[in-house]
Symmetry: C2
Subunit: 141 residues, 2 copies
Amino acid sequence: MKQAISFITLGVADLERSRRFYRALGWQESSGSETTVAFFQAGSVAFALFGRDALAEDARVSPNGSGFPRFTLAHNVATEAEVDTLIREAVAAGGSLVLAGEQAPWGGFRGYFADPDGFLWEVCFNPFFSLDERGFVQLPT
Amino acid sequence: MKQAISFITLGVADLERSRRFYRALGWQESSGSETTVAFFQAGSVAFALFGRDALAEDARVSPNGSGFPRFTLAHNVATEAEVDTLIREAVAAGGSLVLAGEQAPWGGFRGYFADPDGFLWEVCFNPFFSLDERGFVQLPT
């Protein structure tokens, strides 16, 4: 299996609410979006918002699930100062503050916001992993 | 907020088991990995495996959660035939078959496997979204 992730799809309770949130963050939807699914290009990965029940049904699994969704997304930035700026932006767009920026035990600086469904976004300054010219993390090989 | 996802981190029950699974799929860990966290470059996004409790603790949220984790990852391929081939590979590597490849209502062909924690991977042939030379989906703008 090629070392690649093509899509990350979040199963959301209210697609229009989620669309509004990500658009308010300044994200631009693909013209490939449809009424029932929203697509956003995010570097080499496509980010999709789809109804939670529809997503579970597509995989033939139960849509029931609660609590911590056991994953996080992260958005890395180039300076500590940008961490809180970006979290403030996300809260202004309708997100929730989860953790204001603070030093991480591993030496970085990070905070978290939640999107309207409670999906967690870490906003992170990592002095050990540099960002390429497009702003994406390039791990050491 | 830049339209970017830097990291996707899965909170896993047994980090060594998850490492073995993704390595068995042929994925190569970054030398930036540590005992407590595994990193894999996957195009412009970094994929991380981290302990479930540690991930929740980092965001100061409760680690409690069960059932459908409300998201899926997808790996797009260039032909229908590759869908089942890749799902078989994933099952051979220690994953579980969730849905064998079949026609999707929207006109593509897809199946699902689950990783050792039950995180769902769709393997998808989508005739409407082409893959670039690196094999990544490029949505219409």
